[in-house]
Every structure is written in structure tokens, then in C-alpha cells.
Amino acid sequence: MTKTNELVKKLVEEHGVARESLLPVLQGIVKEERYLSKEAMRDVAEQLDISAAEVYGTASFFSFLDTEEKGKYIIRVCKSITCDMKGKCELVRTMEDILKIKVGQTTVGKRFSLLETNCIGLCDQGPAMLINDDYYTKLTPVKVREILGDLIRKTS
């Protein structure tokens, strides 16, 4: 049994085999593995007795259920209207520079994924972003350099 098999088994034991457990189970996998691998989705399909296509169809609907491998730190920069007005583009450019990737990509060492996301409810403190579950507000290029710098040091 692989680690993924075990994780899926554990999550299904916790949430049950009914269809309404699908989202909590998928969220549990993403929490541990940062994304849903083919193996994980097939496993879930088997445990919940639904087709793999249905699992993928549901997962791909939601922006927090990634089906491509993601980095340890998933950066989600808000691109909705107020954050856009307050300088989101410059932030993204700064991060693309630092991480040497484009939006939508993951760094080679799988440390960072840089994504844009729709409104995260921090419009009054924009521009804002989430890194994993934590939020960062009133960002400037300088602040972003600091935040990423800290994380880079932490992981190297």
C-alpha cells in the first residue's frame, strides 16, 4: 500500500463512503499532498464506488482542488477588482521575477506555485494574497520580497 492509498483509506474511514463525503475526502488529500494525483482520484473512486471520471469532473470544478502537482507553498494572488485596482499586476510581476515562473506554474523544486485567484474577501486591505491557508494584505513589491524571502530561507 502506498502512502496515498493509506491516506485515502483513512479519510474515507473518517468521512464515510457516501457521495457527500467526496469533497471532504478530496480536501483531506489536498491538505496532505497539495494536489490530487491520478492515483489518489482512482483510489477515491474505488472507495466511494463512483467512476474516476466523476471524481475528476467534480474536482476540476473547484479551484482549491488541484489536479496538477503543486508546490509546498501555493500562492494565490487575488485578481478581483479592488486588488487589481490597487496594484496586483505589479505584485505578480515581482513574484514572477523572484520565483522565475509565470502565473499558473510551479517552481522546479516544487517549492512554490504561483496562481491568481478570484476574490478572497480582503478587498478593503488589497492587494492581498493567500499562501496556503494564511492571508497577507496591503501588499507592496517590497513586502512581497520580504515574505517570499522568508519562505525561501525557511525551505532551503
Binding site: 457516501a18 457521495r19 457527500e20 463525503s21 467526496l22 469533497l23 471532504p24 478530496l26 480536501q27 466511494l48 469532473g57 467534480t58 470544478f61 473547484f62 479551484s63 482549491f64 482542488l65 485578481k79 478581483s80 477588482i81 479592488t82 487589481d84 485596482m85 485567484t117 478570484n118 476574490c119 478572497i120 474577501g121 480582503l122 478587498c123 478593503d124 486591505q125 488589497g126 493567500l130 491557508d133 494564511d134 492571508y135
Partner: protein, 386 residues
């Protein structure tokens, strides 16, 4: 004459009675009395659709079923809206107490808080609050348990049937209505879905009584309302105001002195240009989730509209033709007009299209695209072209 918008102080600090005392008191009353109180108060859903809350509960209470559910809709995804987050952070017990009163009135024994994925950082504190509540419920003899269901990132799941679909492990695609959740909701059972602020307001209506609550606002719109203010404003944040204020007054208080337009009700709402500030009352004729975006004269309304349409094209669930294709057409269309590959009169065609989307889309998402599209294109046509 300028009037300062009347600030209200209900949901956050004043009347700071322990919300569970409100619940306890409510449970001493007849269920139908509480429904009547809500009907009398004029309280309408604060999520955006504005359905009278008392009516919803009345229907919910009348349904006969072995299981009913109460769902607190905390999938606050409307761009420019963040008031529910503040309620859940600062005064979660008012909302939880509102859920419990709903459970008492309608006979539901299970409840969920559907928390959007973007607010996962609220999870730990909410879980603690639920533990506290469960103690209280036991004490009061109320058979009602609450669980948190995490959303997974989809704007359309704020629509109540899409929300229920996603809870059932499916794609968050809105259902055909009827039947409504009140008859056939989560797992086919009667389900009462209310917004966070609505539920907190229920607590306050119960606390103050309809008479007192009704004193706030105008004859058309009762009570107080949270406004999420952002954009070109020195006072960004959540403000509780009495309903029924003129845009000009609002802008004077919250604008930066150079306000060109405001967007009321988020991306799904309306854009009001400066020339209409004096003649427009916020929320009149249309309900609102309370998002107000303020734009000053440096902002390109083309860029604003482009941002909205980009959002819609991504966040449409995609199942119905007018919304899926219509959103893409509007986006590509304004790009083409801007680039000069389509003549300015193409904007008129797009306005007609947005009207078709309004008439034929399956849910409120596709139906409301026309609101911002037409109000921006009509009022800032030259910005779309040049």
C-alpha cells in the same frame, strides 16, 4: 442637502446581550410568533437575493419530513464583499444563535456552516464556537448539531442549490427550480439556507423586537445593513448603516472626493455614475449583498468591466448556454470594440445579448451579468470605445 448616512450599531457591538440568551428567550416563545416577528420586521435575505426571511422560515416550518437541515451560507464570494467574514470573526455567536433559532422554529436537527475555502483560517475559531454552542444547546434542551462544511473554491456555490450540490459531492451546478431547497434540499430533505448576516440579523430582530428593528431604515427597506466598502475610499472596511440612503450622501462620507462611479451589490450589482448620485437611493428597487466599490476619476471603466467579465467567464458553472457562451461573448466583444475590430455599435448587440442572458439563464449568476454590463456600457460608452 447633504445627510450623513445613518450609522447603525446593532450587529457588532450595541445591545451586547449574550446571543445564547437571545436563543434561550426565543425558545420560550411560540414558533409561529417568531415567524410573525420576522415577517413584521421586514427582514430580507442579506446574501443578495433578498427573499423575505420570515416567509422562508414559514415554508420551512410547514414542510413535513423526518429530517430537515439549516445551512448558514458563508460562501461569501461576491467580489467586494467581506462583511460575513467580519461577522464570523467578531460576533460568530449571533449567527450561530440565528441558526439555532431557525432550527427551533422549523424543526431542523442538523445544521451546516458552508465556509468558503478562502476563509479556511476561520475554521479553528469557528470550531471552538460550535463546541461552546453545543454545550448551550444541551443545556437548553435543543436537539440541533452544527458542522462546518468547507467549500472548495467556486463563486457559483453561493447560489443555494449549487451550494447543496457541492455538499452532496457533486459539481456545484445550480439546479432547476422548482423544487426549491425548502422542499427538496440537501440529500432531498427540506433545507433552509440563510446568509451569515441574515442569521445574525434574526438574532437581533428577536432581541429588539420587530417594532424597534423596523424603526431603522425607510418604509421600503427595513433595518440595518452591513456594507463592505472598498476601492477608492479612505474608509475601506465594513460599515453598518441604516438602509435607504442616497448615493450622494454615501459618496460624500466614504468617497475620496473624486468619486466617478460606485458599484453597488458587487459584480452582480449595478454601476452608478456620478450624474445619478443625487437621484439614486442605495438598494432601492434592487436588493443588495452590501458590497460597494468606489471608483475615482483615475479608473478606466473599461478595465473595470473587463475584470468583471473575466471573472464571470471563469466562474460561470458552464452548464447553461446563455451564461457559458454569453460571458465569453461579452468579454471578447468589448475587447474587439476596444481594439477596433468591431464597430462601436456592436456594443448595442452585446447589450441585447446581456438581456437574453438575463431572460434565459438558469440561475442568478447568468441572470445578473446584465446589471453591471448595461449600467457600465450605457454610462461609460466612450470609455469602451476609445
Amino acid at each position: 442637502m447633504t445627510n450623513i448616512p445613518k450609522k447603525a450599531d446593532i450587529l457588532f457591538s450595541a445591545y451586547s446581550v449574550e446571543p445564547y440568551q437571545i436563543l434561550k428567550d426565543a425558545m420560550k416563545r411560540k414558533k409561529e410568533d417568531i415567524i410573525q416577528e420576522l415577517l413584521d420586521s421586514g427582514l430580507r435575505g442579506r446574501g443578495g437575493a433578498g427573499f423575505p426571511t420570515g416567509m422562508k422560515w414559514k415554508f420551512g416550518a410547514a414542510e413535513k419530513a423526518d429530517q430537515k437541515y439549516v445551512i448558514c451560507n458563508a460562501d461569501e464570494g461576491e467580489p467586494g464583499t467581506f462583511k460575513d467574514k467580519k461577522l464570523l470573526t467578531d460576533v460568530p455567536r449571533k449567527t450561530i444563535s440565528g441558526m439555532a433559532i431557525c432550527a427551533y422554529v422549523t424543526g431542523a436537527t442538523k445544521g451546516f456552516i458552508y465556509l468558503r475555502a478562502e476563509y479556511r483560517y476561520l475554521l479553528a475559531s469557528l470550531e471552538k464556537e460550535i463546541e461552546v454552542f453545543e454545550q448551550k444547546a444541551k443545556e437548553f434542551g435543543l436537539d440541533f448539531e452544527i458542522k462546518i462544511f468547507m467549500g472548495a473554491g467556486a463563486y457559483v456555490c453561493g447560489e443555494e442549490t449549487a451550494l447543496i450540490e457541492s455538499m452532496e459531492g457533486k459539481r456545484g451546478e445550480p439546479r432547476n427550480k422548482p423544487p426549491y431547497p425548502i422542499q427538496n434540499g440537501y440529500l432531498g430533505k427540506p433545507t433552509i439556507v440563510n446568509n451569515v448576516e441574515t442569521l445574525a440579523s434574526v438574532s437581533m430582530v428577536c432581541r429588539l423586537g420587530a417594532e424597534e428593528y423596523k424603526k431603522l431604515g425607510t418604509s421600503d427597506q427595513k433595518g440595518s445593513k452591513l456594507f463592505s466598502i472598498s476601492g477608492d475610499s479612505p474608509k475601506e472596511g465594513v460599515h453598518e448603516l441604516e438602509l435607504g440612503m442616497k448615493v450622494s450622501d454615501f459618496v460624500t462620507e466614504y468617497g475620496d472626493g473624486d468619486t466617478k462611479a460606485i458599484q453597488v451589490g458587487g459584480v452582480a450589482g449595478y454601476c452608478i455614475p456620478r450624474k445619478k448620485f443625487e437621484s439614486t437611493i442605495i438598494g432601492e428597487g434592487q436588493t443588495t449583498g452590501g458590497s460597494t466599490l468606489i471608483f475615482n476619476s483615475t479608473r478606466s471603466m473599461y478595465r473595470v468591466l473587463h475584470n468583471y467579465l473575466d471573472f464571470y467567464a471563469e466562474e460561470s458553472c458552464g452548464q447553461c448556454t446563455p451564461c457559458r457562451v454569453g460571458c465569453q461573448q461579452l468579454l471578447k466583444g468589448i475587447e474587439a470594440v476596444k481594439a477596433g475590430t468591431k464597430p462601436p455599435k456592436y456594443l448595442d448587440q452585446l447589450m441585447k445579448l446581456s438581456n437574453t442572458m438575463n431572460l434565459t439563464s438558469k440561475c442568478g449568476l447568468g441572470q445578473s451579468v446584465t446589471n453591471s454590463f448595461t449600467t457600465i456600457v450605457e454610462n461609460f460608452r466612450e470609455e469602451m470605445i476609445f
